[in-house]
Amino acid sequence: MNVVTMNRIGKTYHLDAVDVPALIDIDLEIRPNCFTVISGPSGSGKTTLLNLIGCIDQANCGEIIVAGEPVQKLHDDALSDFRARHIGFIFQNFNLLPVLTVEENVEYPLLLARVPATERKRRVRALLEAVGIADKARNIPGQLSGGQRQRVAIARALAPAPRLVLADEPTANLDSHTGAAIISLMREMQREHHVSFVFSSHDPKVLAEADDAVMISDGRIEKIERRKLPAEGAA
């Protein structure tokens, strides 16, 4: 079963009494256990599409099914709980909570998902080891480099064992070397945790790593390339 199915999705912004269509008639399926990249020029609707997939924005029309759940029917609290259980986010600006330590940042989504304390500690330790930042567990984000922060963000996104991780231009604020390392790490995590990653990016390196590439322009999907079969362990 696809992790995301979008049928005839439309999204229009109302700016100063002018309707600006951001997404038009989108039909999209995100395969499970895949590394999917949404690519396109600035203003093409990549972030809007990611927001809709991530259930943090509402479409004006159409149907979205995420992890088997028609999410448009969920009210706000149920949608919050759904996100806490099934979706992880990686942001361009890392968006770590500056008052929490690295391990607390990773633990926070587990608190929201009401995971018992011992299991939380175990998962946090394992994830920090996996992203190679266990030695910084007690540091606060302000004491880390950009690459280290994004590693923490990856660990945080994976902490509640989501079905789907969304990353909006995750390498945009990193130098090319660090960006490549982060992409490589995400690819590794995606395979290891059997989770679907969806990126928005116009970085050719990211695009090269993709199992599926979705080309978007002026709010419409121009092309979907299914390049590779889903990795082993797919649902």
Binding site: N51, D77, S80, A84, N95, E104, E107
Partner: protein
Amino acid sequence: MNTLSLALRNLLRNRRRSLTTVSAMVIGAVTILVFGGYSRNIVLSLQTSYVMRGGHLQIQRKDYFLFGSGNPAAYGIADYQRVIGVVARDPVLSPMLAVVTPTISLGGIAGNFAAGVSRTIIGAGLVVADRNRMRRWNDYGLPIDYPQSPLTGTAEDAVVIGNGVARVLELCEPLAVPNCPRHIKTEAAAGASAPADITALAALESRPTAQTGEARIELLAANVHGAPNVASLRAVKAERQGFKEFDDMFIGMHLAQAQRLLYGNEKPQATAVVLQLAHTSQIPAAKARLAELLATTLKDEPLEVQDFEVLNPFYGQAVGMFAAIFGFMAVLIGAIVLFTVGNTMSMAVIERTAEIGTLRAMGLRRSGIRRLFMAEALLLGLIGAAAGVAVALCVAWLVNHAGLTWLPPGQVDPVPLTVRVWGETPMMLVTAAGLALVAIVSAWWPARRAARMLIVDALRHV
């Protein structure tokens, strides 16, 4: 890590702003508590003063309070000894009682005919031993030490007079009244000797020979039949009476002397039976029991019970005035705290907009965002209130040990400036809880705004 822990870290993130907000709350708490402690002290001092003098409750003949002061002879309690006996032996009342004593209030004219001066007075007939016990009542532990009555151990014709009476009757010198201005006689003031009829009445009173330096006065009062009666009395001491109006009119005498003035050879009465209770809080229970007794055992005479607040209307006025000022101040300070904390929380919401979006994206519900900001305000409130109470206690201690005095309205003597904060647990708790509540209320709107943000808008915020 729970919401409170996260809230505390968020407060520490901008230490200067949090400190400024807490400081505003501390200043507010100190202002409320110090003024509250000051007014509380005044109220308790007043209450103690009234209870020392007139007890908590007085049993009087019906309507004496309204009409009897003009005719105390007609409004006396005929069988007051029986009333005292019933009250003192009552199993419900007796555990509450500190003192039960009869008293007589009378009006009259006191004259120092040797000096050719006189003035209207308010006389009080007292059982001296009982009054000495009443003077020891200090339920609130105030820093006061009333000496025994100067009438202690004196003969029946002894009286104690207010300093003002001594001044007007030109008895300051024989009574060694300190700081008493000397009277310079003018022609008009230097009246002739007493009127013949009064002199004749005074002559009927057996009058001991005046010793050198002795202060004697003649006291004229209307007896039970409305006829004038005169007693020649020996002033043993002038004593300040607190309030100037009272100081200028008060003459205290033995109960028997007052009874002789009013009732002559007839059966002596009392105008009131004074009940001093162990604690002021016992007034309602004592009143209820007295009402039962007056309707049953003591129903032979038309009696009623008045409490000290009715007998001393100034007390209620003072309490009301201080309560109004305190309330006004509390509202003003509450408004200041409301806007200060509200502003702090609004700034925090604006600064942390992207963070709010992140938390919501991760799955924190709107209520969680609201709870987070409310928890920050609650912590600010609790820290501000706790620090405010602590600082107020220090300020109160400093004031209480600075040796400051002030002259309360209507009083003749300066009194120590005392701020009663320590021990006033309800006041401290209410102030602290009030400040914390105001802080929470002030965070409600910013927290609501934060919770209602659109996630995508919040995430876009730079």
